[in-house]
């Protein structure tokens, strides 16, 4: 019994007033990480659904409509879970970060509010139309409402990221006599240079998740030899978009992110790379454990001079290490370091896998290679991990600041909300989120098991020809069909 209590010591210690901020951070971080598992899937999938709907509109074949319908059935519950878990986040600004909201509301309130009226209204209203009116109002309305859902959810991502970008790189604000901040130029908030690279990186990550999901489920159908035509379509679309997006994550968007870090947030870069000492011609660490006692990376494997080049475009540039900054401004170094390395490592693996898959698709081997299909199926969950650790780098790496260089996280929390209340709400949210996860998994398994509804009274030959037509490397087969006519 005593041993159990000893084990609980670190948790129980969190009821001290001084540590309540940590609980607020846990609650917000936990809510955010859980929430973002869903939007990354839906924002990626909605693009692919628009692709399928466009194929349906242009080619008019029921096959594409059924393919889109299948993905909508995966998309819709994820969208709803994303929406309902996002509401506590919006209100979390007020409930858990009251002082931060008071001080910065005059600036970021703008884009939080705009997300509501411009983006969230559009996606919810048109999702209702798409889901429940899609068949009644004809092809064009169907396509248009799908497109509006896409536009709305991508705009939503933009407005939310302007809020985050301002917290990373505060621009265009001034301090009022009462200590609160006021906005100077509204358009500078929307066009914060930080938004640009962050937006293309985050949305690229969403497309990675969506296309890996599509390729993976397609691979499942090919492996089980069910719904083979749908399987081919899904794998093809998934691999094409998966290749494009995973390359995009490395270059140009990932490259731009690290260059921006080098310029504006050198501490985060040093922590992420595990660079303890300022170096000229700094090397890039692949593997190794940061050791805060000895201030070095244990058993490192490094590429000399590459970090300098990636950060400043010169092999001899000087990169500042952690020691150049006061210790009180360091983020959690091991957490930032590992998150960053997992993100980069998995991202590289994604690009390699998709490159191989695309090559096999082009040569016409992919649908027969069970090993590759297994790989596509098994890699499906990993983009979720990659996007999550990416956000951990962004947010944990920004600590101890809530608004970079302007306001400390410890100053922003609601100081009258005590630890007991935060424990209570964390436990409540955790329980609800557990329920939601179980449900979503049940729903997806059921949909995948039942599969898309196959074409019933269609001209199978024409269908075969069309499927062949969209698959690269299979063109000759299409010609054969044409000659037979």
């Amino acid at each position: 019994m005593n041993a159990v209590l000893m084990g609980l010591q670190p948790v129980l210690a969190l009821q001290d007033a001084g540590n309540t901020v940590l609980l607020h951070r846990w609650q917000f971080g936990f809510n955010l990480i859980y929430h973002y598992l869903y939007p990354q899937l839906t924002m990626g999938l909605v693009l692919l659904i628009v692709v399928l709907e466009t194929l349906y509109l242009r080619r008019g074949h029921e096959f594409y409509k059924k393919a889109a319908d299948f993905w909508v059935r995966i998309f819709a519950p994820a969208f709803v879970i994303g929406a309902v878990t996002g509401i506590p986040l919006e209100f979390g600004f007020g409930t858990n970060w009251a002082v931060f909201s008071t001080v910065s509301g005059g600036v970021i309130g703008q884009t939080v509010a705009l997300e509501g009226v411009f983006a969230f209204f559009v996606e919810s209203a048109f999702l209702g139309l798409y889901l429940y009116g899609g068949d009644a109002f004809g092809k064009r309305v169907r396509w248009f409402s799908a497109f509006m859902v896409f536009l709305g959810s991508w705009a939503s991502g933009y407005f939310i990221l302007t809020v985050n970008a301002w917290m990373q790189n505060p621009v265009s604000y001034r301090t009022l006599p009462d200590g609160n901040l006021a906005i100077v130029h509204f358009w500078k908030l929307l066009l914060n240079p930080w938004v640009f690279h962050q937006y293309i990186h985050v949305m690229g990550g969403a497309v990675v998740t969506g296309s890996f999901a599509m390729a993976g489920i397609g691979a499942f159908y090919l492996l089980t030899r069910r719904e083979v035509q749908f399987g081919r379509l899904f794998v093809t679309v998934g691999v094409i978009f998966g290749l494009a997006s995973s390359l995009w994550m490395i270059y140009p968007s990932g490259d731009m992110e690290s260059a921006a870090l080098a310029e504006k947030q050198p501490i985060k870069l040093a922590a992420a790379e595990g660079l303890f000492h300022t170096e000229k011609g700094a090397s890039l660490t692949f593997i190794g454990q940061p050791n805060l006692q000895t201030m070095q990376i244990d058993n490192p494997i490094e590429l000399p001079k590459i970090l300098s080049f990636l950060s400043y475009r010169s092999f001899e540039a000087t990169v500042k290490g952690l020691e150049a900054f006061p210790r009180s401004l360091w983020p959690n170094v091991p957490l930032t370091y590992y998150s960053y390395h997992i993100m980069v490592g998995l991202g590289t693996i994604f690009a390699a896998v998709m490159l191989l898959a695309a090559l096999m698709l082009w040569r016409g081997w992919l649908f027969r290679s069970r090993r590759m299909l297994w790989l596509l199926l098994l890699i499906m969950p990993f983009p979720f991990i990659t996007n999550t650790v990416g956000w951990i780098v962004t947010e944990v790496g920004r600590q101890p600041w809530i608004v970079y260089g302007v306001m400390k996280t410890s100053e922003g929390a609601s100081h009258l909300v005590n630890a007991g209340n935060v424990y209570f709400t964390i436990v409540g949210l955790a329980g609800l989120f557990l329920l939601l996860s179980v449900l979503y998994v049940i729903v997806v398994l059921k949909e995948v098991y039942e599969g898309p509804e196959g074409p019933v009274d269609e001209d199978l030959e024409k269908l075969e020809a069309e499927i062949q037509g969209i698959l690269p490397g299979q063109r000759p087969a299409r010609d054969v069909v044409r000659e037979r006519r």
């Binding site: 059935r73 819709a76 519950p77 709803v80 879970i81 929406a83 309902v84 509401i87 506590p88 919006e90 209100f91 600004f93 007020g94 409930t95 858990n96 970060w97 009251a98 002082v99 931060f100 909201s101 008071t102 509301g105 005059g106 970021i108 309130g109 703008q110 939080v112 509010a113 705009l114 509501g116 009226v117 411009f118 969230f120 209204f121 559009v122 919810s124 209203a125 048109f126 209702g128 139309l129 429940y132 009116g133 109002f137 609160n180 006021a182 906005i183 509204f186 609601s414 100081h415 009258l416 909300v417 005590n418 209340n421 209570f424 709400t425 409540g428 609800l432 939601l436 449900l439 729903v443």
Partner: protein, 343 residues
């Protein structure tokens, strides 16, 4: 400019109650008005395409408050911390209940989600009413800074104590009034949107809740002014404000008349007018305060809680445009889903 934003926020909140009110009300009553799965599905069909958009008005209200009155946003959300989280959990449960129900074709699954949807819907209007009553009564804003924290209840029998909790007899009464009014709203909506036996039973329930709403309104209004005579002062200085309660009274009488005559559209319209009247009366009564305090000198007003002038102007332009667009596509979507749902 602050006044414009005050009206704006009041408008958004009223829209939220009007729109999400009918699906909340329908959710809170629907196990009782329906007798089999077919009817339950009809109720669901009447609200499924619309509820998500309706709830967005709440998100918009949150964003709008954050933009225009950041101090109010943070003070009230952290002060009502516990109640806010209960509301958020219920919102999550309700949305999930609605959307999950149709995904598996299994009786047990459907009954479970029917229950979740009902349990998620029923307490929400009550808590919204409680929140409104707390604002009317005043909250214990402290002297250092301007934050406060309210427990769920401290002394339920004395609403005017120095450190009131969220629940006491006065706020509970207003909560019940809000619940009855929202159920009335939902049942008149169902009367308008459905056919056959479902329409008839919705009408009967609408009648019952009409009586309850009238009774509670007649009880709560004098009690409010007995308990909080200071809330009458704005009406005394600007008597044209009596228009708002008049709209409410006209609305509720119209509902009664229309229910008797069987004019479904008119009864729903009357219920809308009642809600608009009650919401605007409340807003008019507290203006220019946005969050009255127990100690009146510490109240948040539209002046000391608002964002800087420039933020308000810029926000009004961008947001006004967005809101016009929102109203336009809401009009389109509602038009597309007009007409009755066949059982």
């Amino acid at each position: 400019m602050q006044t414009v934003w005050f009206i704006f926020i009041a408008f958004i909140l009223t829209m939220y109650v009007l729109l999400d009110g009918f699906d909340l009300g329908a959710g809170a009553i629907y196990p009782f008005v329906t007798k089999d799965d077919r009817e339950r599905r009809a109720v669901q069909r009447a609200i499924l395409p619309l509820w998500d958009g309706n709830e967005t008005w709440l998100v918009a209200a949150g964003g709008g408050l954050f933009l225009s009155f950041p101090l109010l946003y943070s003070v009230s959300l952290s002060g009502f911390y516990l109640a806010v989280f209960v509301v958020l959990w219920l919102l999550i449960l309700r949305g999930i209940g609605l959307e999950m129900r149709g995904l598996l074709d299994n009786d047990l699954w459907r009954s479970f989600w029917d229950g979740v949807f009902f349990i998620g819907s029923l307490p929400l209007p009550f808590f919204f009413g409680v929140a409104l009553a707390n604002v009317m009564r005043g909250v214990p804003i402290g002297q250092d800074g301007s934050y406060f924290f309210q427990a769920l209840w401290t002394d339920p029998l004395h609403p005017l104590s120095k450190n009131p909790g969220i629940l006491d007899w006065y706020t509970v009464m207003i909560g019940l009034l809000a619940l009855c009014a929202v159920i009335l709203h939902g049942t008149t909506y169902l009367t308008m949107k459905t056919t056959g036996g479902l329409r008839n039973s919705s009408r009967i329930f609408a009648g019952a809740f009409w009586v309850a709403t009238v009774g509670l309104t007649a009880l709560a209004t004098p009690l409010t002014f007995y308990l909080l005579p200071q809330r009458l002062s704005h009406f005394e200085s600007a008597p044209w404000g009596f228009v708002f309660p008049a709209v409410a009274i006209g609305g509720i009488l119209t509902v009664g008349y229309a229910l008797m005559k069987g004019r479904d559209g008119l009864s729903f319209g009357g219920s809308c007018a009642y809600i608009v009247g009650m919401m605007s009366s409340t807003a008019f009564a507290i203006y220019p305060k946005v969050l009255p305090a127990v100690d009146p000198s510490r109240s948040l007003t539209i002046y000391n809680a608002s964002a800087p002038h420039h933020s308000l102007v810029v926000g009004l332009i961008a947001w006004g445009l967005g809101l016009l667009l929102a109203c336009a596509y809401f009009a389109i979507i509602y038009r597309m889903f007009r007409g009755r749902v066949e059982v």
